[in-house]
């Protein structure tokens, strides 16, 4: 058996993102995998490339009124309202559990002012076991009339710059798709010191109960996720990969290995799986197995050879 055949029997799946070496490119998307613990009975967390936690804020957040979710055609809307236990409680109560596993923990976080972003990042900075931070900039900037940080390149740049100063952990900035030109926000985040970018967060959407004439979400508007949004996500990842030097993590509607492959081929170094976890708690394991099988079938010895292999 020659070397290349041997490789293909066990394709190399490890990737590097933001200086982190991940054993494979598959991880959950924030907010769809709780604090990891919730899904541990169903999937071996050690199998995953990383665990990404629910978004953390400085203080605990109670979240929105109900109803908070609603199924749509091949997707779902959510307006959870970023309910979370707060960063201090997270560090105290949730990290110990996750540290049992070898899998790197990426902590997603957000703020409603740039100072709050900075403060949360600072509190996570010296927490052992936190491998990287993922900064969710799809949040309203309360100091600027509630304009979403991620839709305002200057506010995004300022917030990311501040966070960059307050943490030494690898910093992933998670972009919102609800913009005219995502390359602009991507470059703003990169220029401000992001080590990697992840996208997409949910697309803003709405559904109406035609009988009651009320929005299906108490919050009227929510975030659309799931298979329905995949073509939009693939396009945005493709555009961002072309605009920046830092690695990109692809997110949006991934439920099968085939879906993950689209993102890797356009150039994402890793992928996050969101809504699909709800449908099948074992989805990430199945995707991982499918990626390995694809590499074997196609004679790809190292998944990195596939990344960015799009032919235009």
């Amino acid at each position: 058996m020659n070397k290349s055949e041997k490789n293909i029997l066990q394709p190399k799946m490890a990737v590097e993102v933001a200086g982190l070496r991940l054993k494979n490119p598959v991880m959950p998307a924030s907010g769809t995998f709780g604090y990891g613990e919730e899904y541990a009975p169903y999937i071996d967390l050690n199998q995953l490339g990383a665990v990404v936690t629910k978004g953390m804020s400085l203080n605990p957040k109670a979240g929105n009124n109900t109803p908070r979710i609603c199924e749509t055609v091949s997707g779902m809307l959510n307006a959870i309202g970023l309910q979370n236990v707060g960063v201090d409680a997270f560090i105290k109560n949730k990290m110990a559990y996750l540290q049992q596993y070898e899998t790197p923990v990426i902590v997603n976080f957000f703020g409603s002012t740039q100072d709050e972003y900075g403060e949360v990042a600072a509190r996570l900075d010296d927490v052992p076991g936190v491998a990287a931070l993922e900064m969710n900039i799809s949040c309203p900037n309360v100091k600027h009339g509630g304009i979403i940080f991620g839709t305002d390149p200057e506010a995004a740049f300022a917030a990311v710059s501040l966070v960059r100063k307050r943490t030494n952990k690898p910093l992933i900035v998670k972009l919102t798709p609800n913009v005219t030109d995502i390359q602009v926000t991507a470059r703003a985040a990169e220029d401000a010191g992001a080590d990697a970018l992840s996208l997409i967060n949910t697309l803003t959407g709405m559904a109406v109960d035609v009988k009651t004439r009320k929005p299906r979400l108490a919050n009227t508007i929510g975030g659309l996720s799931g298979p329905a949004i995949r073509p939009i996500a693939v396009r945005l990842v493709h555009q961002v990969v072309q605009a920046v030097q830092v690695p990109v993590i692809g997110i949006g509607g991934i439920s099968r290995a085939m879906d993950a492959l689209e993102f890797l081929i356009v150039g994402a170094k890793a992928v996050q799986v969101g809504t699909a976890n709800f449908v099948d708690p074992n989805a990430m394991a199945t995707i991982l197995a499918g990626l390995e099988e694809f590499c074997r079938d196609e004679g790809i010895a190292d998944i990195n050879d596939l990344i960015g292999s799009l032919e235009l």
């Binding site: 169903y42 997707g75 709800f278």
Partner: protein
């Protein structure tokens, strides 16, 4: 708590629009407690995207097909066809592949054996009460007050009777049993058995009326709630209800899937619109 791929054993219409489905479910006899639920998914079908939550009606063993083999375990669910997912379900047959995630959620606390027990079921809401009755009949006197809009909504009463449960049927249109709301029957029974504890499941207006009655009398009450759910395991935070002491300033949300679906009445906030908006019939 696990997820596995399994098959349907049978799926029958038991009353217009109501179905009873038996599913092969290894391990459930030991695991499943009264009041728990499963997240159900039709295998290899894209729509609907999300799984559907259903209470476990009953867990049991099939007669062994062969001496040397262990008997097969099953669960039954009872469901009403209301939307896209249950429409697909009604077309399923023996052998069709499905997935079950469960058993999930807290169960009922059956309380002390000596007490009188009153179960209040509204329509399809009676589904999670059967296993509870099964557990309680050995040591307690159990009564089921079963209400519905019309005779079609009165289901599986015979099964409860076979357990030795005393059953009282009422329908709003009088087409079966007593005419009127089930809560009227409840009041009469509570007059007679003031120390009984109550276990209720059904549409929100019924649950709220039951809560009022029990609160006034200081009767112990457990309710099983429905909420829109995405994950069923406490990860998405989509299914919350307002807990006791909830205010706009100090909100207290509880996950129906993990802290519930069964709650002691005193754990919840009973102000108007406190409960997750399932009344609107979910989303399509």
């Amino acid at each position: 708590m696990k997820n596995f791929k399994t098959i349907i054993l049978s799926n029958q219409e038991i009353s217009p629009g109501y179905y009873r489905m038996k599913i092969l479910a290894p391990g459930y006899n030991e695991l499943a407690r009264p009041g728990q639920f499963v997240m159900f998914r039709v295998q290899r079908s894209l729509p609907p995207l999300l799984r559907r939550p259903f209470g476990i009606f009953r867990a049991g063993f099939l007669p062994a097909d062969c001496e040397s083999m262990p008997p097969k375990e099953f669960i039954e669910i009872i469901y009403k066809v209301v939307g896209s997912g249950t429409e697909i379900m009604q077309g399923l047959h023996h052998g069709d592949p499905v997935e079950l995630l469960g058993p999930l959620g807290s169960g009922f606390d059956p309380g002390t054996p000596e007490e009188e027990k009153i179960l209040v079921g509204g329509g399809i809401g009676l589904a999670p009460l059967y296993m509870l009755a099964e557990k309680m009949v050995e040591k307690s006197k159990v009564r089921l007050l079963m209400g519905g809009r019309s005779r079609d909504d009165i289901i599986t009463v015979t099964e409860f009777e076979r357990l030795g449960v005393e059953t009282y049927v009422s329908t709003e249109d009088g087409s079966l049993g007593e005419e009127g709301l089930v809560t009227r029957v409840l009041e009469r029974k509570l007059d007679k058995y003031p120390k009984a504890s109550v276990f209720a499941c059904g549409p929100m207006p019924m649950i709220e009326a039951v809560q009022k009655i029990c609160l006034e009398r200081g009767t112990s009450l457990q309710v099983s709630l429905e909420a829109l759910m995405a994950c069923g395991v406490g990860a998405c935070l989509g299914c919350v209800v307002k807990g006791e002491g909830h205010t706009e300033v100090d909100p207290r949300y509880l996950c129906t899937c993990t802290s519930g679906p069964v709650f002691k009445a005193e754990e919840l906030n009973w102000n108007k619109a406190a409960i997750n908006g399932v009344e609107s019939g979910g989303c399509k």
